[in-house]
């Protein structure tokens, strides 16, 4: 009865849209959120197409736009798109690795009205950071970029993805964020699908490492209260309750790929048989309201009995669909991160085994041509 309506006028407008302007990126992080099969540069939406997306998003009620990728600053039209987004009233956030833009390009973005910057780091330790990103010299570029952001008076969030190689330095990463005058630091354990699932054994931290990181974060929050906001995203494999992935599928958020496909979450293409609409073929408002991919897991109707009978069903919304797909073979199962899932013990066992074995080499993220460029077939499930 309380479930959001799947169609019609009751559906609330989306809060945010993330634009993957390109899949190109100088870094090759082995946990990249981009799909295994990435969009080629020739398929990317043009400036006018992205502007139309921004117009439609604002009209639909979107409040915030995240310019992401890949590395969004490799797009020469980024400042122009930021200016357009501001003109139509959107809050503009840049999610960047900080290694690709020079000062002049950054100044153009500031002049265009950029509101906020999220800068990724791979580690506080430069050597490990540059091994993870497979890019020598990245750390200094990032530190310089952070300085430009604060000199321009923009608020800075530092994003750090943690894994077995750097989780012991969570405290140093927080200190680095403070020294860069970031207002916020987001420390997120790797989410295991796509590239990260391929690299699970190379990335999974041990449980005792995770516990130590929790204590470090708690102490830092107390010490730095009012000075910096610390968000910590715990690893699903050691969790007891699932995350409310995307705050509910198709309820708050849209992700648009470089070629214009509109996804309920960035990893949604790992779920076979979902049909994604493109902004090239259909108006954004119609996609939000009616796209079959959005309707597939919106609300509670799709849920298995385990979720339907649970009092958390409208709090965690059954967790992550992509994780359920990757680990149980069905996107309609409860997220195995949930302690009530019959797959939970297996998930935990997998994490324990992988994290205590020697770490294999990274399989770095790379753009490889699609086997069939014209195919719209779903991506194969990784792992």
């Amino acid at each position: 009865m309380n479930a959001p309506r799947t169609t019609g006028s009751q559906l609330p407008p989306p809060m945010a849209v993330l634009l993957e302007l390109t899949h190109r990126c100088p870094l090759q992080c082995p946990y990249c959120s981009n799909p295994l099969q990435m969009d080629q540069v020739k398929s990317e939406l043009g400036t006018a197409e992205w502007k139309s997306v921004l117009d439609q998003a604002a009209k639909l009620g979107v409040l915030q736009v995240h310019f992401s990728g890949g590395e969004p600053t490799v797009r020469p039209d980024l400042a122009e798109l930021i200016r357009h987004a501001r003109a139509v009233g959107l809050y503009t956030n840049l999610i960047t690795s900080g290694v690709a833009a020079n000062k002049a390009r950054f100044d153009e973005m500031v002049a265009a009205g950029l509101d906020h910057v999220q800068l990724s780091i791979q580690d506080s330790d430069a050597a490990t950071a540059e091994k993870i990103g497979n890019y020598a010299g990245a750390q200094q570029k990032k530190l310089t970029f952070a300085k430009w952001v604060r000199e321009a008076g923009l608020p800075l969030t530092l994003n750090a993805v943690v894994n077995r190689h750097n989780i012991d330095r969570v405290g140093e990463m927080i200190d680095l964020a403070v020294s860069l005058d970031a207002a916020r630091v987001e420390i997120a354990n790797v989410q295991y699908y796509g590239w990260a699932l391929k690299n699970l054994a190379a990335l999974m931290p041990r449980f005792d490492q995770f516990e130590a990181s929790i204590a470090t974060v708690a102490a830092a929050r107390e010490r730095l209260k009012g000075k910096i906001v610390i968000d910590y995203v715990v690893p699903d494999y050691y969790a007891k309750v699932p995350k409310a992935c995307m705050n509910g599928w198709g309820q708050r958020f849209m992700n648009i790929t470089p070629a214009g496909k509109v996804l309920p979450c960035h990893a949604a293409e790992t779920i076979p048989n979902l049909q994604f609409d493109s902004v090239r073929d259909r108006p954004l408002a119609e996609i939000w309201a009616k796209s079959s991919a959005f309707e597939a897991f919106r609300g509670t109707d799709w849920m298995p009995e385990l979720c339907k009978g649970c009092d958390q069903r409208e709090i965690d919304w059954g967790g992550c669909r992509c994780q359920a797909m990757a680990l149980t073979g069905s996107a309609s199962e409860a997220d195995p991160a949930c302690g009530k899932s019959p797959f939970h013990a297996q998930l935990r066992g997998m994490a324990e085994a992988a994290s205590h074995a020697a770490a294999p080499e990274f399989q770095y993220r790379r753009i490889t041509p699609r086997v069939d460029q014209k195919s719209d077939a779903p991506e194969p499930v990784a792992g």
Binding site: M15, L63, D115, Q118, L154, A183, R184, K227
Partner: protein
């Protein structure tokens, strides 16, 4: 100059303002006011909106409270307590700066 938004720092002479990167705007699609901040959207209730709309970085907490006392014909002590709690909460979230 970067203000240290330490919660203990708020007093009657403080001049709170929206932090850099935070905007208050009327949202036509939802017919309500929203606070747009890094990675978050807040929907202020009537009281919070009343306070946020009066903040300009020049007005002291003392002056703000005086305005509200006049506007609502209310007890100064009560207003001060409510305003202090609200402002401290927003400072901690880095929505406001001093």
């Amino acid at each position: 100059m970067t203000a240290d938004a330490t919660t203990g720092a708020l007093d009657l002479e403080s001049r709170p303002r929206l932090a850099p990167g935070v905007r208050l705007k009327y949202d036509e699609a939802r017919s309500c006011w929203v606070v747009l901040a890094p990675e978050r959207v807040l929907m202020p209730d009537e009281t919070a909106l009343e306070v946020l709309q009066r903040l300009d970085g020049k007005k002291t907490v003392d002056a703000l409270v005086a305005e509200l006392v006049t506007a609502y014909d209310a007890d100064r002590g009560e207003i001060l307590a409510d305003v202090t709690e609200l402002l401290n909460g927003l400072l901690e979230k880095r929505v406001l700066a001093l």
